[in-house]
Symmetry: C2
Subunit: 250 residues, 2 copies
């Protein structure tokens, strides 16, 4: 975090505001020293998470690389890029995000909807509901529940798939969108830090979506990137996909 | 066509096969001297066409830049790029493609679903059903029906919207995918040529999707890019979006 903080402190907002979106993403990734994953031919790539990943996918469609299975969020945009640009790599890309999921709900379906796929690359984006549902759904899990559940999930994953390449996405909230935003802080920040801590612990690639979103909000307000602070618009999904694609090379 | 033919004649297939997809698209566009459209701030961009454009959109959703309204085909991929990369341009992007449509069916809904939008940029991808339905649906329209209907539609459009920037997509068939492919030739080629003729007549930007598809098939077979020769896979939608985006600058 120090590197990033220094970087932001030394960069005038006016400078960031003149950067293009690809430049913003590259700049954030450089400041955060994000580790790139080398994709291989025939890689099985699995996207897991909550509604942000699920995004209207058909839960009964099981074939890889299929539009309705992939949904129409950042997963589809990232998958489309990989499938279009690297046709000879024969990637098999799956989306198994489920709306509303918290970490313990990923765990409940992990054998069938993750480990059995034997993914080479596993991308997980989870955590916003682990916090949000404490405000809205009477969920009683704490930050320690989130940390413990997340670490247990990754332990179990590494046990079954020792060579899996992990990409963990930071839970984020676009600022100035939700009327009750103040209820999210400072508590929600702990969930972001724990996601980063889990990534560090397991040497996973971490996508700093909050930094990306904060930077993108220097160009246009958070309502452009998300409908409600949490759920991305088309532009927000494109921004997430751009960040996701920055974590891999093929 | 001559330029393109010469280019292909002078370019070894082995060379094309080593090009990346963006290079293939750029090369095809250069060979065809495709005219780029300059997008402006606040542009209203409308996608019209058949199932390839429609692609699972929610027909009751009317708001611009909305995922479910945009569907999940090339329209969504192209729109996502424009909305993500040019947030300050405040584009309003609409999809009003309808599965199964031929040109006369676009005409039937043209006031409500095109002219009333007053688009600054209008992209039309139509023609495969004007031919295909003569084989499968007892449609009796001929190549002259297609030409006359298409020219009448564009005349009417230019009358109502003299400054509209037009992008017309070439109907295409991926080769080696459909068992009854031989029934498509040579007749189907005339539909491609007429789409090009209409674009030339009205100084519209023409997207040579057939050339793009033919080139992409030098990398991997047509089944990678389309499910049935006509309908794009995720990779095929990405390829179309890449070609579409090559026609504009912002």
């Amino acid at each position: 975090m120090l590197n990033r903080r220094n970087f932001i402190r030394n960069t005038a907002i006016t400078t960031l505001a003149t950067l293009s979106i690809p430049e913003l993403v590259t700049t954030t990734f450089a400041a955060e020293k994000v580790k790139k994953i080398q994709l291989q031919k025939d890689d099985i790539i699995l996207f897991q998470g909550d509604s942000i990943t699920d995004w209207g996918r058909n839960h009964t469609e099981t074939k890889p690389n299929n539009t309705s299975m992939l949904g129409s969020g950042y997963t589809l945009i990232a998958a489309t890029h990989l499938l279009t640009q690297y046709p000879k790599n024969k990637f098999q890309i799956y989306n198994r995000g489920v709306s509303g999921n918290k970490v313990f709900q990923l765990a409940e379906r992990w054998d069938a909807e993750c480990l059995n796929f034997k993914p080479n690359v596993l991308s997980i984006m989870v955590g916003v509901n682990d916090f949000w549902h404490t405000l809205t759904n009477g969920y009683t899990g704490t930050i320690n529940t989130y940390r413990d559940d997340y670490k247990k999930l990754i332990d179990r994953t590494k046990q079954a798939l020792p060579d899996v390449k992990l990409i963990l996405g930071e839970p984020f909230l676009a600022k100035g969108v939700r009327p009750e935003e103040k209820n999210w802080y400072p508590k929600f920040n702990e969930y972001r830090l724990v996601a980063r801590e889990v990534a560090d612990t397991y040497h996973a690639t971490f996508i700093p979506y909050q930094s990306i979103m904060d930077d993108a909000q220097k160009l246009v307000p958070g309502t452009y990137w998300t409908s409600d602070g949490v759920h991305p618009t088309v532009a927000g999904a494109g921004l997430m996909a751009q960040a996701w694609l920055e974590t891999v090379k093929a």
